[in-house]
């Protein structure tokens, strides 16, 4: 047992089994069966390929990656909706995969999720009151009562909605921003300790995004919540602060404090998405680059998965798979030729 502990201690990324970490993910791997045809078996798709991290109580941790990076799969594993192929997820030092019955109920009370699709995540037949009280009734066993009603009013107020106005509305009678606020209220209803926000503002109108993110931030402070943010948008991650990880093809390629990663990115991929992100004052559409636009492809067995798109590659990048290593204080990157290091 102690052998394994040492192994973990040496694990790059500074994510040794941390005492007091509320959520701990160790070497998580999720592979989906390849979709082959009758004659050719396609290889398994490694959605998550060895991810390790921890989140401390009341902290914000963002996982930033593009579609296909595997970030949503991680969230779904933590919520218990996807099965890890290997690896451990621990909540308060308890193995999440071993939960069932009563302990699972407790877990669901403690770890809640805000979904990406404000409309699809609400039952079109249920009004706001029902949607919010469902988890309270199911997870905390509370029955219909004046206290319950008061709680709903309290929650709606916290998310900035006028309770009497929206209580009996159905989802299609609300705007996108309002629906997402209901989503948040519902997630807060069972008094969780951890909130997983999966692309919380991607499907919300641009004018409401900042408001919703500020709301999440305020709620986090008020209720001392731990937040795991999943997003493809760097600006969203920046707003929430805390620490972050950049994910590429199933692996973390850079981790560190959000401020540090966004101001001095080490990994060329981080640098790339940073330069491509829309900006207010600069970065207008550039002149066309004649280079064929290479996109994500199957990672090689050995060597850096970003190699085909990297302008800084050297021969070692082909031969040795880079590991997450500390390149500047508390800032890790999996790169043989890191930038700004």
């Amino acid at each position: 047992m102690s052998q394994i502990r040492i192994g973990l201690a040496e694990h790059a990324g500074g994510t040794v089994e941390q005492a007091g970490a509320i959520l701990q993910v160790e070497d998580l791997r999720v592979a989906f069966k390849g979709q082959g045809s009758l004659f050719k078996k396609a290889p398994d798709v490694k959605a998550v390929d060895g991810v390790t991290f921890h989140i401390n109580p009341s902290e914000v941790f963002s996982i930033v990656g593009e579609s296909g990076s595997g970030k949503t799969t991680i969230a779904r594993c933590i919520m218990g909706f996807a099965k890890p192929t290997s690896g451990i997820i621990k909540f308060d030092s308890a193995d999440v995969s071993k939960l069932s019955g009563g302990t699972l109920t407790e877990y669901r009370r403690d770890v809640q999720m805000i979904y990406q699709d404000p409309f699809g995540s609400l039952n079109p037949r249920e009004d706001v009151y029902t949607a919010i009280t469902n988890p309270i009734r199911a997870l905390r066993g509370e029955k219909e009562s004046l206290k319950l009603r008061e709680r709903v009013f309290e929650l709606l107020g916290e998310v900035g909605l006028d309770a009497p106005e929206v209580l009996d509305k159905l989802p299609h009678q609300l705007s996108g921003g309002e629906r997402q606020r209901v989503n948040i209220a519902r997630a807060l209803a069972p008094r969780p300790r951890v909130l997983i926000a999966d692309e919380p503002v991607t499907m919300v109108d641009a004018s409401q995004r900042l408001a919703i993110l500020s709301l999440i931030r305020d709620l986090k402070l008020r209720h001392k919540l731990t937040v795991l943010l999943i997003t493809h948008d760097l600006a969203t991650a920046k707003t929430m602060g805390g620490r972050m990880a950049v994910m590429y093809l199933g692996k973390f390629v850079e981790t560190g404090s959000t401020a540090s990663v966004l101001s001095k990115p080490h990994h060329p991929y981080s640098e790339l998405i940073l330069s491509a992100a829309p900006k207010r004052r600069s970065g207008e559409v550039p002149a066309y680059d004649e280079l064929e636009i290479s996109e994500q492809s199957e990672p090689p067995a050995v060597g850096c998965p970003f190699l085909p798109r990297c302008k800084y590659s050297t021969s070692v990048c082909k031969e040795v798979t880079p590991q997450l290593e500390e390149k500047s204080s508390s800032h890790y990157a999996a790169c043989h030729n890191p930038r700004n290091a």
């Binding site: 900035g160 606020r181 500020s214 305020d218 992100a277 829309p278 207008e284 066309y288 064929e292 636009i293």
Partner: protein, 333 residues
């Protein structure tokens, strides 16, 4: 803002697009909207959130509104010719050859049994009756202009990434050398790196061919460097219009101001520290049954500058001072 005497390339006049919903009600998506694109090479970004009617406007210009939507009144004139009332053969010639459109979901509606090149060949053969060998040569040329090398021209849709598929769509739209290109959220479904490439590719082709571009999006930030002018749409109407940089630096309409204030970008923190602003309840603001012709400013529920006149009189889009800025707001009337 348009001062020439020759016919504008595109003139939309008092266009109304409605959608029927249950219980015999209808929602007005485009509300008495007028818009002009004066000439070739004029690039306009149309910005609006969900419910603004921007997509309906694009489809209205193409005269491709399908039930339960319909164009209830107004006109769309291309080079002086009324588009909404022409016979089908002329409409076909209009679409693709004069004005062509790229939809957001177009990259997912490619024919799975046709190769990338086939799609373009089909367009050329059907519309211009180009003989196949010539069409194929032309197709390869177009594909290379959108960055798809000849080796990949014979790939099928499932072998191409999202970005590449969208490039095939762009090549198809450019195949018949239209004068006006309408792009409706062409990059929203793409990753940010690919998005940037597609935008710069679009920019290059538009400039090289001196096309007019109507770029519809909900993300203002991507317009910089892509279009020269911007129009902001709110609930079916254009509320502000002008040169892109001027509008971004100094928005006139309160809605534009709000959009820019709440812009979430990586390089700057938004202007005000927007707190958890209480969402004005649905009944005040979002009643979907706003009928056309109601006589008050639709933004009145959220506008921080609203005064009495705003509740009883609908503002008209008009010129402000010299120059080419238009605003529909009583603040400036």
């Amino acid at each position: 803002m348009y001062t020439g005497t020759s016919t504008p390339l595109l003139r939309v006049s008092n266009l109304n697009v409605e959608y029927s919903v249950r219980n015999h009600h209808s929602i007005t998506a485009v509300d008495n909207l007028s818009l002009e694109i004066p000439s070739s090479g004029y690039t306009l970004g149309l910005v609006g959130e969900s419910g603004s009617g921007k997509s309906s406007l694009g489809m209205g210009i193409m005269n491709s509104i399908e039930p339960p939507g319909r164009i209830s009144s107004g006109s769309v004139e291309y080079n002086g010719q009324e588009i909404l009332k022409i016979p089908p053969e002329k409409l076909r010639a209009y679409r693709w050859e004069e004005v062509s459109m790229i939809y957001q979901s177009a990259m997912n509606s490619l024919n799975p049994v046709k190769t990338a090149a086939d799609h373009i060949v089909e367009v050329l053969v059907q519309h211009r009756k180009t003989p196949k060998p010539e069409a194929r040569k032309e197709a390869l040329k177009l594909l290379s202009q959108v960055g798809i090398k000849p080796e990949r021209a014979n790939n099928f849709q499932h072998q191409l990434s999202g970005g590449m598929r969208q490039r095939v769509v762009i090549a198809m739209a450019l195949a018949l050398s239209p004068k006006l290109l309408i792009a409706d959220e062409p990059t929203s479904a793409l990753d940010v790196v690919v998005q940037r490439q597609i935008l710069s590719l679009l920019k290059k082709n538009v400039r090289e061919r001196n096309l007019s571009l109507l770029f519809i999006t909900h993300e203002i930030a991507i317009l910089r460097g892509l279009v020269d002018h911007i129009a902001v749409m709110y609930k079916g109407a254009i509320v502000e219009r002008g040169p892109l940089q001027k509008v971004l630096d100094e928005p006139l309409h309160p809605y534009t101001e709000m959009l820019l204030d709440s812009l979430l970008t990586i390089d700057e923190d938004p202007k005000n520290n927007v707190a958890t602003s209480t969402e004005k309840s649905a009944s005040v603001r979002d009643s979907p049954r706003i009928e056309a012709g109601t006589n008050y400013c639709k933004y009145v529920g959220l506008c921080k500058y609203a005064f009495e006149r705003c509740k009883v009189e609908k503002p008209v889009l008009q010129k402000i001072g010299q120059g080419d800025r238009l605003v529909a707001c009583h603040k400036y009337a």
